[in-house]
Amino acid sequence: MNAKAIAILVLLGATLGPMAQAQIKSVEMRVEGMT
């Protein structure tokens, strides 16, 4: 693998990595009228 390909992979990892981990971890609700 040449240096250019490695550079592109590093750049893609830096760009897409954080977004790939973006997520909702939990949703909490307080509800009324539950029996």
């Binding site: 954080p18 973006a22 997520q23 909702i24 971890k25 307080r30 509800v31 009324e32 539950m34």
Partner: protein, 132 residues
């Protein structure tokens, strides 16, 4: 309600506490869950949502109107309600820094029976848990 919420897209687990009326929804690993859909499903099961909080990891972006938003997925972002904590996030706007926050998506107003589904949910940040 537990079964109804459990059938919603992206939901891994639902934990209901009958004593204090708290419901926790854990999404599947991809985290692609829609809080507005959960709220609708909760109403559909016959109970009223008094408050909805979310814990999420994402990036802080600024839209064309100058509003800050928390991007929690490729196609999902929540506009942030302006407060001291949201202002403290200005330095990481549009950066690669990901943060984990706990925020309030909805709180029932006095006398109001139901959330208006046409109004997009906004996040009032309550706690910034992690910056990385």
């Amino acid at each position: 309600m537990e079964q109804h919420l459990g059938r919603q897209s992206g939901v891994e687990k639902v934990a209901v506490n009958l004593l204090d009326g708290k419901v926790e929804v854990i999404p599947k690993e991809d985290g692609q869950i829609d809080p507005a859909q959960l709220m609708k499903a909760t109403y559909d099961s016959g109970v009223t949502v008094a408050e909805m909080d979310v814990t999420a990891r994402g990036k802080i972006m600024k839209d064309s109107s100058g509003n800050l938003s928390l991007q929690v997925g490729p196609n999902r972002a929540f506009v942030l309600v302006q407060n001291e904590l949201s202002k403290s996030l200005e330095p990481i706007v549009d950066s690669q820094t990901a943060i984990t926050v706990r925020g309030q998506l909805y709180k029932k107003s006095t006398g109001k029976k139901k959330a208006d589904p046409s109004v997009p949910l906004k996040v009032l940040i309550l706690d910034v848990q992690k910056k990385e």
